[in-house]
């Protein structure tokens, strides 16, 4: 058991269908391997259908509450820009945010009832420590656009407490067998991209 570890709060936000559940499974596997107490909170059901989804991960010596509240997140992993903006105020002072530079219009924008905000990342950078990546393009270059989330996770991993080796082991244990190699490559791309 790791002792005297203050609870660390991670959030994964995105659009239903972007693979937030897979990402949280990987994080869960890691924390338990490291001997922490851990709680993860997920969204299933109706909200998953293209809606805004958020997953909370908390680990440390002893974790009670399964959710992260406003102003408490150490790291926010955002798979979509608008969702990054929606949950940015959950970040604590000094926290880091990894944002996938992808735009998915929500229905109010599609039907013209609302406008998708401009310059989201620039605005976020004024207030928060933000690392952005165009993970979708990188994933396409790798040969499978679906692994973009693991590239984003790779960047976020630089701001957490686990070794690259542990990450890769847990990824291997968690993703479908056929996709192990490409997921490991995707992670390495993110992990080696020095956050600037």
């Amino acid at each position: 058991m790791v002792m005297n570890m203050k609870t660390k709060n991670i959030m994964i936000v995105g659009v239903g269908g972007q693979g937030t559940l897979l990402t949280s499974r990987i994080l869960g596997g890691l924390t338990i391997k490291a001997g922490y107490d851990v709680k993860l909170s997920e969204v299933h059901g109706m909200a998953q259908r293209g809606g805004s989804v958020v997953t909370f991960v908390r680990y440390g010596d002893k974790v009670y509450e399964p959710i992260v509240e406003e102003g408490q997140a150490d790291v926010i992993i955002a798979f979509e820009k608008l969702e990054a903006m929606r949950y940015a105020h959950y970040l604590k002072e000094g926290g880091a945010m990894v944002v996938n530079d992808q735009r998915i219009d929500p229905m109010p924008v599609v039907i013209g009832a609302a406008k998708y905000p401009e310059s989201i990342i620039e605005d976020l950078e004024k207030k928060y420590r933000v690392y952005k990546i165009d993970a979708l393009t990188e994933a396409k270059e790798l040969g499978n656009s679906k692994v973009f989330n693991i590239i984003v996770l790779g960047i976020a991993a630089q701001h957490m407490d686990f070794s690259e080796e542990d990450w890769l082991t847990v990824i291997e244990e968690t993703v479908p067998k056929k996709t192990i190699d490409i997921n490991k490559k995707a992670f390495t791309i993110g992990y080696n991209q020095r956050t600037k």
Partner: protein, 580 residues
């Protein structure tokens, strides 16, 4: 075995049933309870099934219990309404093998039509309720529940909530206990609840309640943590976690059993603290009982009966702390929507063209109520589409419902819709029923049902033929139409609503998320021929967006290749692209 693993609350509940020696499990899917069965099916020692609805599921479990084995039924809170008929009476009958009912409440309405509190139903049915707070307790409480059930001859409810069911936490795996099957004992006075027998059983129920009220103060699942005596908090389940986070200095009575309440334990705790709070999500079930015993307590005076709690909510309400956080950015909402390639979108687009109102039902297709489709007018509960349309016709006549159709999915039709259709035929109704058959229970994450031809275990089984079923109950006009054939669907619907008879149209196409293999075609907009009229935007496909300059763009990471937009375009400006 002492292996620590991380488990979803629902997975831990399933594991608990396994370790407790449960032999039969039945359920109907419903968020947030679905994953209980999806995990139980992994244990070959337990027979598990999807039943057509929760009432059937509970009755299956009751039968198994009567025969002498440990049995489980699981459901969401509104599913318990459907199953409440057997629940109220099995409370009188009691059990032979232990009987546990897991019910998942949904504070905050993540995926439900109301925010009802299962504890209220359990109180009325006089059934004990246990409430775990995390995955570890979820597993242990199921085991405790079976012991309680057999010791006190009662069904036992385990109440979970969305937050527990869908949170992962650590559990320690144990072995499955070997429970000898009990012999079936013929006992008509106990098992046949006709008035004379039920009168006698009611007395048994009342004395069982009294015994439980007395004994429960000593149950190991309750715990008392005496700290600072200025503030004492009575709580249970998930809210306990918020209490520990927000008020680590307070004294806490954590109730493992929340019905009936362990009165002696509560009175003793109350006498030792200066100021007593009751922290419970949803209704003031504990608070009102505690106050009725003459104990002063603070609860819903400062805490809400709506939604989920949090540590900050308690910090503000109980400690009066000023939690200053940055304000949330004002951004457009992102409500759930039908997926790209969803066959329901095609059906709803045709309904809109014909200006039809939809008497709706429970499933993904309830999202037809959301703009821009906005063609589902009503949604009450499972199966209500057909019966409520029938009520409209009886109230206002055949002509009135010529611009209405009932809209119901295949799984929901099997759940309770079939009863409503029988009623429509029996009582000489007219009207059009659209069964949106995507061959799965989609919203809850794709479960099998009686009309898919597969069981929960994935074994092939008899497939209920919806056409033959509708004809058998007396519907003379049953059509099967490809949901993506918009012109055929339009013509069929037009004829149907004007026929003044009962017409069932089965709009068939598999759920877009169930398609096997990679996409073989997609669509893109030809800028040369596109007139930017916006017709293709009408179905509200999330893959199609209009740029600032008016150009229409189809996102190739989202396009599922369903071709609905191509059918909408009058200028042939949407072109098929064959992929590899």
């Amino acid at each position: 075995m002492d292996e620590r693993v991380i488990m979803l609350g629902n997975e831990a509940l399933a594991r608990g049933a396994y370790e407790a020696g449960c032999k039969v499990s039945a359920a109907y899917p419903g968020t947030p309870s679905t994953e209980i069965s999806e995990n139980i099916v992994k244990y070959d020692d337990i027979y598990s099934e999807w039943s057509p609805n929760e009432k059937v599921a509970l009755e299956v479990a009751i039968g198994a219990s009567m025969s002498g084995v440990r049995a489980l039924a699981s459901m969401k809170h509104v599913g318990l309404n459907v199953a409440s008929d057997p629940l109220y009476t099995v409370s009188y009958i009691g059990v032979n093998g232990g009987l546990v009912v897991i019910v998942a409440d949904d504070p905050g309405l993540y995926s439900s039509q109301n925010e009802q509190d299962t504890r209220a139903v359990a109180r009325a049915a006089k059934v004990p309720v246990l409430e775990p707070a995390d995955s570890f307790e979820a597993k242990e409480y199921v085991k405790f529940a079976y012991e309680l059930s057999e010791k006190y001859d009662t069904p036992v409810i385990i109440r979970t909530t969305t937050r527990l069911s869908h949170s992962q936490g650590l559990v320690t795996l144990g072995e499955r206990v070997h429970i000898e099957d009990k012999p079936y004992v013929k006992n008509i006075a106990k098992n046949v609840m006709m008035p004379g027998n039920a009168k006698g059983r009611h007395l048994v129920v009342e004395s069982r309640e009294n015994a439980l009220i007395n004994d429960s103060s000593d149950f190991s699942i309750n715990s008392v943590e005496y700290n600072d005596s200025k503030i004492g908090i009575i709580t249970s389940g998930i809210p306990y976690l918020y209490v520990k986070e927000a008020l680590p200095e307070a004294s806490v009575l954590k109730l493992g059993i929340v019905n009936p309440l362990p009165r002696r334990l509560i009175e003793e705790f109350a006498s030792k603290v200066d100021k007593l709070y009751v922290v419970e999500e949803l209704d003031p079930i504990i608070e009102e009982q505690v106050k009725s015993w003459g104990i002063k307590a603070i609860g819903k005076d400062i805490l809400t009966v709506q939604g989920e709690y949090s540590a900050n909510l308690l910090r503000k309400a109980i400690k009066g702390e000023d939690i200053s956080v940055l304000p949330a950015a004002q951004v457009p909402g992102r409500p759930p929507i039908l997926c790209p390639g969803c066959p329901h979108r095609s059906t709803f687009t045709v309904m809109n063209k014909l200006k039809l109102h939809g008497a709706g039902d429970v499933g993904c297709y309830t999202l037809g109520a959301v703009a821009p489709l906005s063609c589902v007018d009503t949604m009450i509960c499972m199966g209500a589409s057909i019966s409520s349309l029938h009520g409209m016709e009886k109230a206002k006549g055949k002509d009135y419902i010529k611009n209405w159709v009932a809209v119901i999915g295949d799984s929901t039709f099997i759940h309770t819709g079939i009863n409503s259709l029988i009623n429509m035929v029996y009582n000489k109704g007219t009207g059009t029923v659209l069964i949106l058959d995507n061959s799965t229970t989609a919203m809850t994450g794709h479960q099998e049902h009686a009309a898919t031809g597969l069981t929960l275990k994935g074994e092939e089984t008899h497939l209920v033929d919806l056409v033959a079923l509708c004809k058998a109950v007396g519907v003379n006009h049953v059509h099967v139409v490809d949901a993506f054939d918009t012109s055929l669907l339009e013509n069929t619907l037009k004829e149907a609503v004007n026929l003044e008879e009962i017409v069932v149209i089965i709009a068939k196409a598999p759920c877009a998320l169930l398609k096997k293999g990679p996409i073989t075609k997609q669509y893109r907009v030809n800028d040369e021929t596109c007139r930017r009229c916006g017709m293709c935007l009408k179905p509200g496909c999330p893959a199609i967006t209009k740029k600032e300059d008016g150009a229409i763009v189809i996102d190739d990471t989202m396009c599922d290749g369903c071709g609905l937009c191509e059918q909408m375009c009058r200028f042939g400006a949407i072109e098929e692209v064959i992929i590899r």
